[in-house]
Symmetry: C2
Subunit: 535 residues, 2 copies
């Protein structure tokens, strides 16, 4: 099921969008996470109960006591709020238990001798940023382009007690899309989602406690609800993916980050939130315009160039003033410093009688007769631009959880309560079950042969001959198998089999030889089961 | 390309074999790796140069000095051999530098407070073993069954200096197949590979320095060259997969582990080795019969049941002797120990006058009048069997490397040297390139539309309009793209396009509307390019 969800995601990001998938290391040297800010910032505020010794999330305890948005409070404010609160485990007062930052990255050492510190990555994104120069070359120096990655990320959570919602080891599917800062309002295929409507819980509506606004992406961008076409495009694409994996669209909304929860560098950020009966509204996907923060930060730490040369349509002529030192005089007078002074002069802004420059912390006044000013025109063919990053980031494990929760149903079949997972066929772990009515008279061999033929065409088919046929249907209903093929005694007469539809529990007879085409068509949604009797 | 290779692997293991794919954690608690033996055993012998401080593999230095099979030497023997050898880095003598074991697992701590030690898994297999009870239930208590996993494994190599051949973080594709110990000679679909021939470098032939024996799997099993049908089946399957990803079959052999390199519990082990111009013979896949070693070890440490109840065809009547203690006497006499003594009695083998039992380290003699012996018959319906494990284990990164090396070729096209990757279409990172002959007159729009249509059908298509057409062909040859579609001025007249074949560099014209069918058929190998002109 996980692989199916990942493949569905690839249908959109790798095939529709044309972004190549890369794979970066999951263990990274410390320098990467210093550059990304994770070594310094990626921590939760924690407290240890002085009585029972349990480690606890300080913000969670404060939040549970009725104070909203405790995650944004400082350590001092949390400590003050905690003072009167009881430990949720042993119920003794927490008192002066110190609040401290606990970095959520798993730490390890690389190589022998334990000299080199490393971390398990807390998000897949950083690897794509450090690979930017290579990606740029791969995409032949043209913007926009994107790279995607599906892989494990790790967060050493203090108390992960929410099943698949909060895991220490989880799978992310992230896309990093690099765009020209002035091109963010022009997504090349925006037409795909211009008329697509999505429920948008804007900052205003959150503050006024109102329902989400449902708007088309065209209107959302034009009216400034979503910051630009790129962010809006991936909001709509995300909506489409989540519905495709089985999320109920009436329990899906896009919530805009409030100014105090948004990262300082992001200009706009939307979370796809899904309502879970068990966990309430859960963030499944985050879509952010991260500006050039990440590339700028990595460029600063690594010294690598993270810019793209964008040629102008026509070269521009620019007036340029060159300040050229007279080295014949400067050399003997300043000796070893002459070269540095000449360079400082070239970058200086001279007055009428001379120029002031600073070299190695010392100030020098260079009289006007020691240099010449040449005026001229220079042809500029383009400029170096640091791209902005649009990042849709998906939590794959959470996608699995909500797809399961929303697919679960109970109905009545033949007077009995039936438990059924109404998973989309593209997501179901078994796509078709194949049963012999009886385990004899060659019915079983025919069913096995059908199973083999279907799996040869990459259909996830499962043969099952154990128990009564009704019991086998129920078993497949429970794991969400959308179709079941049954071989019975009529098969021996006329080479037909039945196909049963999980959701309607209806059956139709079809020629056995046509299964190879009908089953893939049903799974891909190219025909509907209801149309089959008419085929 | 990596995803393509993984998917090709799944075609065999998930679809053909019907083994479900699971995903286990990559970070595991210490207890798992104590049970697996990795905490104690998974170490390389290392030495630190006393002069330059470099950490070195002791066995590698000794091996390079001309002593064969140094990996099997003890620390003491290595130390002795090293004494006179120079450090390969600074060339000073290593002298008495101590040889010590360096555990290759990356260590970390789980949760706050650093109380719980964890390791990054050194192989994917252990997760499948610990999941065995769940898998058994999933497969409804029937043998044989298998589970597969593709994922990252980690080894903190001392000096990984061989590119993709030795990585600290690498991807494994492993299958664990659980079989009845008495069923290893009967693979249910052995017929598939019975006549398949594979070059087998047996232990004998290695010792005599002879060429591999080429034999069918039927003959190899019947003559005892390969231990059983299961191992032979996966040897042949592995040969088929490696050839399918682009390995040259003349540079592929299966080498049997020598008795001193085989793990003590394995009864037979074969490595698929591929000849690399750069690295010599490289192990790509290992196929081992691991007996019940892993399950027995995990059962012993975790207390979980790792057996399968195998019912007999008919229940068996077995004579049983029951030894029943007379608690009325035993109770008052032995007080608190009475129950333990009664249990020990039940399992004892009494003599004529009484039985000797040991409880809590103390010996007791229980006279015959304190118990009764009842003889009777019991119906036994089956037995608990601990399955044996057949494990084919693939190094995905090494598969990528050898597929690239063997696909690389230089030939002459139009009087110029051409560099080309002859990757199989199923493996190539770009499957079809789409070019407009010119970047105008709507040729570009038509080519973009073709690209979109192909990608919608999950074909990895790449649009390229930059540079001369010959340059674009070369670029695609270099990255191994098997087909290129060109839109030219004839397209505007008659709706045809050309398809160019990478290997022959030949071109044919086909109707544009048929691309959607022709390209997938070419990629799947359902038609050959040479047949196209006849279509």
């Amino acid at each position: 099921m996980k692989r199916n969800i990942e493949n569905l995601w690839r249908t959109f990001y790798v095939f529709q969008e044309g972004y190549y998938e890369i794979e970066c290391p999951t263990v990274g040297a410390e320098a990467i996470f210093i550059a990304s800010g994770h070594v310094k910032e990626f921590a939760d505020k924690m407290v240890q109960c002085p009585h029972c010794g349990e480690y606890l999330r300080a913000d969670h305890i404060v939040e549970d006591s009725g104070i909203t948005n405790a995650g944004a409070l400082s350590a001092e404010a949390l400590q003050e709020a905690l003072h009167e609160l009881p430990c949720p485990i042993c119920e003794e007062p927490l008192g002066d238990a110190g609040v401290f930052a606990f970095n959520l990255m798993f730490e390890t050492t690389i190589g022998p001798g334990s000299q080199r510190k490393g971390y398990l990555r807390p998000e897949t994104a950083q690897g794509i940023f450090t690979d930017f120069p290579r990606l740029l070359r791969f995409y032949r120096d043209k913007l926009p382009f994107g790279a995607v990655q599906i892989g494990k990320s790790y967060r050493n959570e203090i108390s992960p007690r929410q099943g698949m919602i909060r895991l220490r080891e989880f799978t992310q599917a992230e896309a990093e899309i690099f765009v020209h800062p002035e091109g963010k309002d022009n997504h090349p295929t925006f037409y795909r989602y211009a008329d697509y409507t999505v429920p948008l819980l804007t900052i205003d509506r959150q503050q006024d406690d109102r329902e989400p606004l449902t708007a088309t992406m065209r209107v959302a961008v034009d009216e400034g609800v979503i910051v630009n076409e790129y962010v809006a495009y991936y909001v709509a694409l995300t909506h489409q993916i989540l519905v495709a994996i089985g999320v109920d669209p009436t329990k899906l909304r896009f919530r805009q980050h409030l100014p105090d929860e948004r990262a300082h560098y992001a200009v706009d950020c939307w979370d796809a939130e899904v309502y879970s009966d068990r966990f309430g509204w859960v963030e499944i996907v985050g879509i952010a315009d991260r500006t050039d923060y990440d590339l700028r930060s990595h460029a600063g730490h690594s010294g690598d160039s993270m810019t793209v040369f964008i040629p102008y349509d026509e070269p521009k002529l620019v007036r340029r003033r060159q300040i050229v030192a007279n080295m014949g005089v400067l050399g003997p007078r300043f000796r070893g410093k002459a070269k540095a002074i000449a360079e400082a002069l070239a970058a200086s802004n001279p007055g009428e009688d001379g120029a002031r420059v600073t070299v190695d912390g010392e100030d020098y006044f260079i009289p006007a007769d020691l240099y010449k000013i040449r005026e001229g025109e220079e042809e500029i063919r383009g400029e170096e631009v640091m791209p902005h990053v649009i990042e849709p980031s998906y939590g794959v494990d959470r996608m699995i959880y909500v797809a399961l929760e929303h697919s679960y149903a109970e109905d009545e079949v033949d007077g009995e309560i039936r438990r059924v997972l109404r998973l989309p066929a593209a997501v179901a772990p078994v796509q078709v079950a194949v049963f012999p009515l009886m385990n004899r008279d060659s019915l079983d061999e025919i069913a096995q042969e059908i199973t083999r033929k279907l799996t040869r065409h990459r259909i996830l088919a499962q043969y099952d001959d154990s128990g009564a046929i009704g019991r086998r249907y129920r078993r497949q209903d429970e794991i969400g198998t959308p179709y079941a093929v049954t071989v019975d005694y009529d098969t021996l007469e006329d080479n037909t089999v039945t196909i049963r539809d999980r959701d309607s529990t209806e059956q139709v007879r079809v020629p056995m030889g046509r299964l190879r085409q009908i089953i893939p068509d049903l799974i891909r949604g190219e025909i509907l089961f209801a149309e089959l009797s008419r085929v």
